[in-house]
Point group: C2
Chain length 409, copies 2
Amino acid sequence: MTKIIKISKRGELAPDSPIRKLTRFAEEAKKEGIKIYHLNIGQPDLKVPSRIRTEIRKVSNIDYLPYTNSQGTKETLLSYSKYFHDIKVNYSPKEILITFGASEALIFAIAAICDPEDEIIAFEPFYANYLGFANLVSAKIIPVQLDAQENFHLPSQNKIVGKITDRTKAILFTNPNNPTGTVFRKYELQTILDIAKKYRLFIISDETYHGVSFKTKAISFMHLAKDLEQQQIIIIDSLSKRYNVCGARIGAIASKNLEIMSAVNRFAQERLSVGFIDQKIVTLELQNSLGDVKKITKIYQARRDAFLKTLEGELNIKTLYPEGAFYAMIKLPIKDSDEFAKWLLTNFRYKNETVMVAPGSGFYASPGKGKDEIRIAYVLGEEELKKAAKLLAIAVKQYNNSQHLRESK
Amino acid sequence: MTKIIKISKRGELAPDSPIRKLTRFAEEAKKEGIKIYHLNIGQPDLKVPSRIRTEIRKVSNIDYLPYTNSQGTKETLLSYSKYFHDIKVNYSPKEILITFGASEALIFAIAAICDPEDEIIAFEPFYANYLGFANLVSAKIIPVQLDAQENFHLPSQNKIVGKITDRTKAILFTNPNNPTGTVFRKYELQTILDIAKKYRLFIISDETYHGVSFKTKAISFMHLAKDLEQQQIIIIDSLSKRYNVCGARIGAIASKNLEIMSAVNRFAQERLSVGFIDQKIVTLELQNSLGDVKKITKIYQARRDAFLKTLEGELNIKTLYPEGAFYAMIKLPIKDSDEFAKWLLTNFRYKNETVMVAPGSGFYASPGKGKDEIRIAYVLGEEELKKAAKLLAIAVKQYNNSQHLRESK
């Protein structure tokens, strides 16, 4: 192709998703008849809750498919407010806006806070798409490294404060964390809150996995913040993971800060509205959901144990046991997980099966980081996960042998 | 509220939608029991096509609600490709990406082309939300004025070229046009194409209303562009208007430019996917839709005539008859349509009814423009539209009298 006109720098720099960039290799393997265990993407394999199925049946009687209010339907906003109330986070409907998943909520939050070149501090490894959201609106993610030796808990306050510049506008925090599954403690949230207060920063708190924690209960920033502090906090939420409705594309942004919510409402007016059907079908579930979240949390804990114990046994390694969400960032005895993850799909087959993982590097902004790590999502049944762990162990050994052979040539 | 931390400039500057900013006044009037004729928003009142209703019934049997491919499901992409083929626009599925309505398609297009402060030329009055999309990603809309005296057709080539600077990256073009309903002629598209070629600009062609034209058939830029020229063209589409499915939030961006589509696919990976159910239910309709579009076009033409003839008779004025879409930009004998549009909702009542319109100023980037214009969408039945036109005429007279009284005090 002759390059006629240059596209934007932001277009050139938009990162590939480490979770999705290998999809075409997976599709090719499937065409060959290979079975793939998908550990790459945080998409629950669990069925949608029965209340949502009932609502889908009801919605099939509609004659019209209209836009809704840009902020969200009254019913969905009331239900979200009820959900927040149930988890002891006090947001009225007018302090909430319904978004196309947490993705749009994060784009709106960053855009409302940052002008081009402004900076947001985030703790790496972080959810890979944060880089893309910031890039889309020309803001920058400044990484503070979490240490696997510390079970990915917060470093000293100095290490965080050292990254603050004149352009720093916010701290982006994920609890329970994706990709590490870390559940941050109350004193860690207090540290972040103290820094935000002192340096006048917003806190963008991604609480998509709230409720999915195994031993230590994850708390919300809204449980800690008092009065005016609450205006520095923007909560990001999504229904995708807690209720197995990834394809419904419903999330929310909430804040007590009227200026932020005014800006976000104007951004939302521009894109008219979130899906009518998707909002309809989640409304009832949101009002009655805490029981469902408890159920799935037990399932994920058992899956975590099934997968990690099998992998530890097969590879004779020790792994970290995540405290929440349904991810694990696993250090493997390999040199280049980008190459390894691709090789799994293009070369490795064991009894006509292979496994798909997300390479670690995409979860870091710092170059060279994550090369010996993969992120897995335990979103298969326990027996399937045990098989996938065995397969992964066989692959690691075979990959290292074949690499050894290649290098000794 | 104490202002703790400043939000972004882009957040402060995000424009209010002229179509939606008066919604709360409308809601208050409804609470009083006032019936409102909604001419403010381009949301068809027509029922969803029967094929879509059938698909909604089918989808109610699903057990899972997964993410789809970021680019769109294979079926939806194939159907969109078939639709483009039917209108003689040649795009294969890999040259298309499914978006959350035309809104997201426009944001992606602007982001892929523009870095902050880059400029896009657009012809005003234009679809108001273009200003918001550009603001979200810190690009600028540079207006070229269309003249009502010329029935909102293109000005001389010099007037357009005069706006081109070092930062100009694209021309944004809407055909059939919203808010004016203008259907641009082949020679006008050729003018734009010649300028784009000479000055190496992209053309973002919003063809949301393609097919909805009354006498002169609207053509696509893809019908004119040859070979390499096609790589300068980005087509924006939406299903909302042609198939009465505004609430389904399905649109598309298509281009032969591999770099643009690569950037857009990476932007799309970040937000994971468009709604699963919405994609499912539109797929069949897309494959068989041209007949439906013909039917609704006839309906809109009759509605245009019903509304405008009534209004002309009642006010003794002459209006322009739009050639496509379902909008009219109407010059009224009033001084301030922003105030007038609000007054309609807050003060004017005739037999317990009023009418809601979009004030003209929001469709212009140039300050002071559009003050004596309103945009109406003829999305009610003919009899309702006649009533709404009569109501509007009564309101104009009453408003001018009351203003006269206020001014003479």
